[in-house]
Symmetry: C2
């Protein structure tokens, strides 16, 4: 069961730069893609920038509907994450193909992915960089966390199917939020 996560904590999930999944929905047709080009833009309300190539099937759905879910998978989902990235929603129902269960979101039409340890319901708030850079600015409306997944290790893409998995965590005396 997923629990609501305070929006003030969202940046702690995305700032480390994990590979994420992005779901969309357009006229009842849902899709999911793999994404690594994203960053935090503001703490609270959390704003996120991401690049979705206009070569991706998801691009049109995101641009037209202005809604998506960013889901963060742990290491155990890495094989599915790569499989999702290796095909297009134009050709395949990826949820069925890769056994990705979905659940309804609270604030947006694209589905949550309960197998992921975190899910962020997002709406597009700024499109001025879409035409030039395929860059969307999102606001996170609602965040969910799966408390059953303790200390999930995320994966980070280094190109060509090489991923670095989270190692140890270190604590240093920081005044940085």
């Amino acid at each position: 069961m997923m629990k609501a996560l305070p929006l003030s904590k969202v940046y702690q999930l995305l700032e480390p730069g994990p590979v994420v999944l992005l779901t969309t929905a357009q006229r009842g047709r849902t899709n999911v893609m793999t994404m690594s080009w994203h960053m935090m833009v503001e703490f609270e309300p959390p704003q996120v920038a991401c690049v979705v190539s206009n070569a991706n099937f998801s691009f049109g759905a995101l641009r037209r509907t202005g809604e998506c879910v960013i889901a963060i998978p742990a290491r155990k989902l890495a094989e599915k994450v790569v499989a999702v990235g290796n095909c297009s929603g134009r050709d395949v129902d990826k949820f069925a193909e890769f056994g990705l269960t979905t659940a309804p979101a609270a604030r947006v039409k694209p589905p949550l992915l309960p197998a992921c340890f975190a899910n962020l319901e997002c709406k597009v708030i700024d499109r001025r960089c879409v035409n030039t850079y395929n860059l969307f600015i999102l606001e996170v409306l609602k965040a969910w966390i799966d408390p059953a997944q303790k200390n999930p290790k995320t994966i980070h893409h280094r190109g060509f199917g090489s991923f670095v998995v989270d190692g140890p965590t270190i604590k240093l005396k920081s005044r940085m939020r």
Copy 2:
């Protein structure tokens, strides 16, 4: 000694989401800050988006000069990276204070940090999101790598001085670049 890195490989350094250092120079005054909010925007020529808060001393220099260097530190520099993030260039010469040696860049005025395993010389190419989001779009003009630092482990910020260090690398069959 640093070696030139082909620009086509730059995304492999930033896509995993490491904490980086950002140097600037304005009227002969150089500065360095710690940054985690960045992402790739284009492969080649490599374009990078980053958020530099207008509360940071570096913001004015970056906006006015349109130049910076993004330097990527490995784990062994983590304590210095945090120290750099805990003070402002308004008050301190951070290079002297933390023993950060600099070297001249080839294409921009801000200095390289040879202790970092990679250095990216950048110019601002788009400012349309600066006023609203403090978001700069950069192009990488020249990239450097230190071949003596083999398989450097980077650090990723989780908030409040907690950092995850790179763990093992896994290879999966991917068609993703």
